[in-house]
Amino acid sequence: MTALRGRVSQVVEVNVGTAGGGESDAELWHRLRSADEDAFRDLFLRHSTAVYNFCFRRTASWSVAEDATQATFASLWRRASGGDIDPLKLESARPALLTMARNECSNANRSRNRHLQLVDRVRAESGESVDNTAAWVEAESTMALIRQALAVLPANQRDVVELVAWSGLSLADVATALKISVGTVKSRLSRARARLARSELAGLLENHNEA
């Protein structure tokens, strides 16, 4: 089993669209533009884990990722409250959210001091069960190594790797979210794959959705 399959199989949240009989992302987004709290709540519960894991892969820190996730959605809600949200161009809100999260992850990474480690601490203190601490510390170490290896790529190629290969977005969705052509996405991914072909990251670019 490759790492990517392992990752996808562990996605626990409901995916986009009308799965489960709920409203589509497009419908929720439309209501969100009118600052509808329920729509925001549904979008959050639907996509927050994807944003959280995306941020973790960009920051190699669970707690910074948690902070960045909150910042991403807080920013979204702030914009919704101010009537400052563009219409959704895709069926899924996830590409737009991950694109927004890129900036928040960078900000959070630059100022790690402001993240809320207390959340994890208080949860542990109150007796609530938490993940195996050693496992997620190891995950952070592994992710830090991956980030280090990925640093050989230009930022625009890293973005494509993170969005397509690691987050499972389609080339078309990434192209729309990044406001570039599908061909550009494809070429960046191809160059990244060629650059990393002999590295320890080669396996991380094998499986992705190129639909």
Partner: protein, 287 residues
């Protein structure tokens, strides 16, 4: 060596996080920003001042002599609108007061005075105490320091929310709340405080509950103010944690320990509580 992506994790407490985002934004939207309130108050005050000046000038011209009494009247007139305009903050949502000194506009004009009540023992606080303390405000006479209740209304209205500094272990009757800091604990880079916030009454127009937040509590140290957001690298185990945020009705209390990140060479000078309803209290942990 081939690296593999670590497995995904579920976001911890998503329901809590989304409600926090919505609540924070609602609180911000519901209460006019302090700066805006100040600005409006200043505008009204300026208008009144100009009007008074014109009237004073008009009165001065016919008589040809100065009107000594005009100045105090003008001052009084300017103070009025500033206070009336201020209590528009959402009464049911308490938010931590900004760390800057400009907290005046957030204080409702009708806030009850802050009084002090000694706490007999550290473990004596219970959820039922706020009701009893609310029924007996005269207990403020037992305060170890001069009670703010003795301060005249005029004096209080000219000042930002009253700052009270008391020894640790003293319960303070702040506007609508009973506040207690009764214990401290240190270990590693953590300085923890044992505190209790009880809802004694509700502001006018409030719903049945107040939103209490852990972030209202801060530490004043020799290195500056430390908030609950500061990351802690070496956690210690605490007996019971103070809730992060929650809604509380009259008689309800939020109780527990709050950890702060403090370097070992930093001296803790005060435990502080501030909120948008006018509470501004400090406990001296070194007494």
């Amino acid at each position: 060596m081939r690296l593999e992506l670590p497995p995904e994790r579920r976001l911890p407490n998503p329901e809590w996080m989304v409600e926090r985002i919505l609540t924070e934004r609602s609180a911000t939207a519901g209460a006019p920003p302090a700066a805006r309130t100040w600005w409006l108050s200043g505008l009204v005050a300026a208008a009144v001042l100009i009007t008074a000046a014109v009237i004073g000038w008009a009165a001065l011209v016919p008589t040809g002599r100065p009107q000594v009494g005009a100045a105090p009247e003008t001052a009084a007139a300017t103070a009025g609108p500033s206070r009336v305009g201020s209590p528009t903050a959402g009464p049911s949502e308490i938010s931590p007061a900004p760390t800057s000194a400009a907290t005046g506009p957030e204080k409702p004009a009708t806030v009850p005075p802050t009084t002090l009540v000694p706490v007999p023992t550290r473990a004596a606080s219970t959820a039922t105490e706020p009701k009893s303390s609310a029924a007996g405000p005269e207990t403020s006479a037992a305060s170890p320091t001069p009670s703010p209740a003795e301060t005249s209304t005029e004096e209080r209205s000219a000042e930002p929310p009253l700052t009270t500094t008391v020894p640790i272990g003293v319960r303070v009757q702040a506007p609508y709340l009973d506040l207690t800091a009764s214990g401290t604990m240190t270990g590693g880079d953590v300085y923890a405080i044992l505190v209790e916030t009880c809802v004694r009454s509700l502001p006018p127009n409030a719903s049945s509950e107040l939103l209490l937040s852990r972030t209202s509590w801060t530490l004043s140290t020799s290195a500056g103010t430390v908030t609950t957001d500061a990351p802690i690298t070496d956690p210690i185990t605490l007996p019971s944690a103070y809730p992060g945020e929650g809604r509380y009705g009259i008689g309800d209390c939020a109780t527990g320990w709050i950890p702060f990140a403090v370097t070992p060479d930093t001296a803790v000078l005060a435990i502080s509580y501030r909120d948008s309803l006018g509470a501004n209290v400090k406990w001296n942990p070194n007494t």
